[in-house]
């Protein structure tokens, strides 16, 4: 069966510091991968998605970036965090050996920028 991992689970960082969030998927190959951000009690904002290694599409221009160095690894980064980067970050996958229609989410990372 497929599983998706995110770490860290929680993170408190000062403004201006760098960021690296990691997501890995097990049990499937060539998945589509996604990063979302969610404000408290709100819907999901798509930040980046990737359909293959090295292929990144950005949905919202901001100070975040994403990379996919391996088939099942997706990394969200920032060189200098802003207060507005605080939120709940979710990684998801679709396709691969899963259903063509559905997305599966990781447990999320709660980021607080102080």
């Amino acid at each position: 069966s497929q599983t998706i991992h995110q770490w860290p689970a929680t993170l408190v960082q000062p403004v201006g510091s760098p960021l690296s969030l990691e997501c890995t998927v097990e049990g499937t190959s060539n998945p589509n991968l996604y990063w979302y951000r969610q404000a408290a009690g709100r819907g999901l904002q798509l930040l980046f998605y990737s359909v293959g290694i090295g292929q990144i599409s950005s949905e919202v221009p901001q100070n975040l970036s994403a990379s996919r160095p391996q088939d099942r690894q997706f990394i969200l980064s920032s060189k200098k965090l802003l207060l507005s980067d605080s939120g709940f970050y979710l990684c998801a996958w679709s396709g691969g050996q899963g259903s063509a229609y559905e997305q599966y989410f990781g447990p999320g990372t709660r980021l607080t920028v102080t």
């Binding site: 589509n32 819907g43 396709g95 989410f105």
Partner: protein, 112 residues
């Protein structure tokens, strides 16, 4: 741009009551998914509906896909406190980019 609007945004009901959540769009979707999310956790997939007019049941939850595949509903019978959470509908963007469009969410609170 495809949009999915959910209603109501918030719902607070007593245990044992019935409720319906709606997910509407002016666009056609090849499928729609429903998720439930609890605080501090990732959304969990409940169901996928694919065929226009399709009805799926998951215990006390009934999901329906509109005939024209532009809308969907989630009906909960005899709500329980364990049904509390954020309900999200989602559909795959029709542009073939593998993106998903998410609804605005319905926050349900079931009171004992």
């Amino acid at each position: 741009t495809q949009l999915l609007e959910q209603s109501p945004q918030f719902l607070s009901i007593q245990e044992g009551e019935n409720l319906t959540v709606y997910c509407n769009s002016s666009s056609v979707f090849s499928s729609l998914q429903w998720y439930r999310q609890e605080p501090g956790e990732g959304p969990v997939l409940l169901v996928t509906v694919v065929t226009g007019g399709e009805v799926k049941k998951l215990k006390r939850l009934t999901f329906q896909f509109g005939d024209a595949r532009k809308d969907s509903s989630l009906h909960i019978t005899a709500a329980q406190t364990g049904d509390t959470g954020l309900y999200l509908c989602a559909g795959e963007d029709s542009s073939g980019t593998y993106k998903y469009i998410f609804g605005t969410g319905t926050r349900l609170k079931v009171l004992a």
